[in-house]
Symmetry: D2
Subunit: 361 residues, 4 copies
């Protein structure tokens, strides 16, 4: 009987099998459940929707944690892929930390493999304005990017097949009074050295960058740019950490890169999605299952099941407003007088434009 | 411009389109999101798994709320079906509440229809021991059960096609020192007037009742027997309210009744499931997706995705213990030395027996 | 040894006294802790700060719960005093509920006494505009207010010594396009039949009512006007329910009435306080303990302990913004260049004016 | 008007001053409030009750974070004092981390000063059994402890005035089948090189160590021994991290040391306190304010306000059990038949003994 669980004892030790009250005094379970959050997003257009954060730091530049902690955070918070992007320049790392520009990746890679997280090799090219900071992803040897001349860095990155993102374009420390696209960015774009822009970074968004994505044909990116702990920066009880959703043919690094080059990305921050109209429209439709519950001359009542963690805030021209709650079921009452399309306030397709939808489809 | 959302103003009112910090002072959203919880349970054996609570009270006996509140609770907490089971005898209702024995059902029914909740007509036959309290479900006219002679009540219920449950068999107020099955229960069973027993009621479970279900061929039932507010009784941040899972061919009252008569039920309370071995075994398998992540001479590492809100607490004869977290993904490491079957501590099939499983399947 | 707690068994049953891991499988504690929330507000100006909600409904008009549930809610949510204010007119109560206009009070009173909640007898005078709805508090016999002629009702209330509040003055159902003070309100004020106004009701606030309080010498009131469950209406994980703070000489009904007539009230809704400048200024000071932690030419660093559940959102003319978190300790860094006074964005003293403070004092 | 807050715009921009609904669409506040938890414990016996964790690791031995992160955690979680106790031996630190045995302290100290956290210089003497692992606190130069011979290390620590704790005495990796006190521990004790023992470490407690504290005159210590993130190890939504309470004359390092040498400590883990009877008895009394609410022949009803974050689980010989909820107000009903003393199940004074109290006092 020694192999019996304590539970068995609790449940069945009473000879008379009387009712047992559950509220006996117990040693509390003080530890946190070690569990990976499921981020609910729909698969769409035949793609898998990968959850990614492509900008973060560790002890090997100016971050506060060992590289493996970034993998733990990614696993716990439900991400599929991350890039550790320690600063290259000006950071001979902390006085106490050795290694070279590849070390943070080398340390984290085996652990990422064990936990099933795709770890993309990356680095932050850290220059003053212009042109600012850039993340080079999918590189193979960061040390080759550690060179003083600006264009040499970009050439080295391109040679390694890098996907390059302009980081926080309107960062106040660099563009305090504006958020401007300079000639150097046009040059980088033309040379195939600029593929995307952060429309959201840490706590900031850059409205004009939504338009750049559309006008200049670059990808929408949202990142945490985390230096300390993700859990300390964001209120994870209410929102997922900022992330980039990538529509990939499969859950592999190669498929991820193909998808990013093809610009199949959506930026997600707080309750907001920003991306191409076609992707947000499909995200909306793929998330919802709508059923008419009842109908009378004054209103129609719908059951709406939202399979994604994104709520949808709708507003009709006629003034009717309602929110389809995130992940779960809502009952929505639409007045008969409410006609026409709805604007989805939290699905952004231009700096001055939201997605327009029909409800129900 | 009046039709523009406030959001648009916030996002885009700045002419220069500078970075905006999200932490501006805002009027807080003080209201609670009106959303229905999704209870995650697997479909299994070709059935839908309906979430039900068949025992609760309202202002029309000794409860504290208007009948419609029971529908609101059921909707918010993700149930498919409920029965309002106000006491018949001794409760000419509160001094101030009128109506007859059908009133609580009549008041709640239209609202249940609007919200998509299956409301089963029920009533609690409230007698001292023996035989105790019983819930008659699927009845058509409660007034006909409001008669002094005990067997007349059961006859009336049977005539209406009732499914009859023995409530809280070991309730201390009625069986303070024991939890005994009496001759009268055998008689009721033989006459087709007893179909199920509450193995769990409110906060209590009755271990011997697990065995009655198996030996006497009656159905497992778990109920809240709520009189006040469900939210005040249970810690809903950690557990669903107690409920009976019913494996039904479809989500209708008729299918529900068929399934209950066929005894396709599982009692769920806290982290525990109690039911027939075949159902718990299938529940376990249908909930899990397991994938080998890595392997070495010392251990195998598995990714385990649990699609149900029930965690599974496993223990091998060799001593290895681990918990598959509820709804989400865990990484489980199984030592090479661990051989043989596992006991699932929280899946109960007898008063002294737990489900035994293989892991991985 | 039978009287030993289960806990003792768990802790000490092992003969060898080896280390015990806390994560054994246990029956979970599924019930919610039955505890009264402590609302943290400072005592000030020599008064006790009583937490009150003076507007709510029960089964005895158009509410959804038995009167005792309002006492349970008040106790759990930390209130000192409530008034149940069932509608007088047009509500011969629900078809099924009997009693008279005093019944909801009579039912709740003994239970309120047992739980230590001050229950004020009240009723809602429910008229179309003008003049709208009013709550009469501290009345003695509601039945005497149940009379058709408007002024007869107010006369009866006055005769009983009522404190009378104009409810939701800008309620869209009554004043859809405006929030206007009519002649009848001036008349009531002159006759001593109007003492206060709801500046906040349920989810709405009425900015112009802040000015009426100042200009016309009436008291600030915030109420829930709850009909269903308070817990379903508000996100109590983030905010207290709306309430009126009353600065009373002691925690008695008599002291409460004296304080309200003297207009020593503050309306609290979400993160906002609205009230007389002198009271909000004192609330701010009485809540905070500030200590200089360090200082250099660029900044001063302060430890700030906030003893109230109200955060304070400060903004300097020079642009510095910071929030003193609710109940707890913050570290605040004030740049040397930041001079002058701060506006506290969430402390409202006029429709277009916030409290101005010095920081540190 | 540019200096006006957004809030002002929201509240008052409407010319007509109509009612405003709070549920407009808003940019969510995605960041977490940067706030220090208030740990509620009573001051007692004229001492301040300091909250301390004396065992933790960083990148400078086998931890996962930069030393400053330990200060951030301590500040956020409400501690007064911590010791960073990186391993001395066998940890020439990670391959990539330089510095010497003093580095983690040197890095964290200025930041601790800025945040107002007392940082005690410490180190973990890491030896196989016997004698096991020890933390030396209040040392001045860790490098001098980095020497192969065991007794040389203890001599060096003593010379620096160290307070020495035997860590996790029953750790399975070192004492798999027992939790034994060896001769070497007696020797260390006699030589003034052993002052305390961890009765709790990370997730484990060692019942026999409660008795050692009493019999051998050493202090009770509870620590996290954290290597990763405190937040990932413990369920902080329900419990504080494990800690040692120290009854000190003031909040300074010197007073802390004096108090520890005088053994005025209490170990706190989960809901449990372990310590000297006199301290636990005083903790219980100093936490509670009890008031008789009502009385009848069958029972007495008490209002109980608990000013500490520790709940108290009481059980009378007559069988009455109740829990005084942590920090807040409970209503407790004591049957008239309940006589005599209560055992407080979660206040431990011996391996087989709980604190006995009177209720009410």
């Amino acid at each position: 009987m020694k192999s019996k669980l304590f539970l068995a004892t609790l449940l069945f030790s009473s000879v008379s099998l009387l009712a047992q009250n559950m509220n006996n005094v117990q040693m509390p379970e003080i530890t946190r459940v070690n569990k990976r959050t499921l981020i609910h997003v729909p698969t769409m257009l035949g793609y898998q929707t990968l959850k990614c954060d492509f900008h973060m730091h560790t002890d090997f530049s100016d971050g506060q944690v060992w590289p493996t902690v970034r993998v733990d955070e990614a696993w716990q918070m439900g991400l599929d892929a991350i890039a550790i992007t320690d600063h290259i320049e000006n950071y001979p790392s902390k006085k106490f930390v050795g290694g070279d520009d590849n070390s943070s990746f080398d340390i984290a890679k085996p652990y990422a493999d064990k936990k099933g997280i795709i770890l993309i090799k990356g680095a932050e090219i850290t220059r003053s304005m212009t042109p600012g900071h850039f993340n080079a992803l999918f590189i193979t040897n960061t040390n080759e990017l550690d060179t003083p001349n600006l264009m040499d860095v970009f050439e080295a990155a391109k040679k390694q097949g890098a996907f390059i993102i302009w980081n926080h374009p309107g960062w106040k420390a660099q563009q305090p009074d504006t958020c401007k696209w300079w000639d150097i960015h046009t040059e980088l774009l033309k040379k195939g050295m600029l593929h995307a822009v952060e429309v959201f970074n840490e706590q900031e968004y850059y409205p004009i960058a939504f338009d750049w994505c559309n006008e200049k044909g670059i990808a929408y990116i949202a990142t945490s740019d985390i230096h300390g702990l993700v859990e300390n920066m964001y209120d994870l009880s209410r929102y997922h950490r900022p992330m980039t959703l990538v529509l990939a043919t499969e859950r592999t690094e190669a498929a991820l890169k193909e998808a990013m080059i093809a610009r199949r990305t959506i930026a997600w921050f707080g309750n907001f999605l920003a991306g191409k109209e076609e992707f947000l429209s499909e995200f909306f439709k793929a998330s919802l299952t709508i059923k008419l519950l009842s109908e009378n001359p004054k209103e129609k009542v719908y059951q709406v099941i939202n399979a994604s963690d994104v709520p949808f805030m709708l507003k009709a021209v006629s003034g009717t407003q309602f929110t389809i709650a995130a992940y779960g079921e809502s009952v929505i009452e639409i007045p008969a007088k409410c006609k026409g399309d709805f604007e989805v306030s939290n699905l952004i397709i231009r700096s001055n434009k939201r997605l327009t939808v029909k409800f129900p489809f």
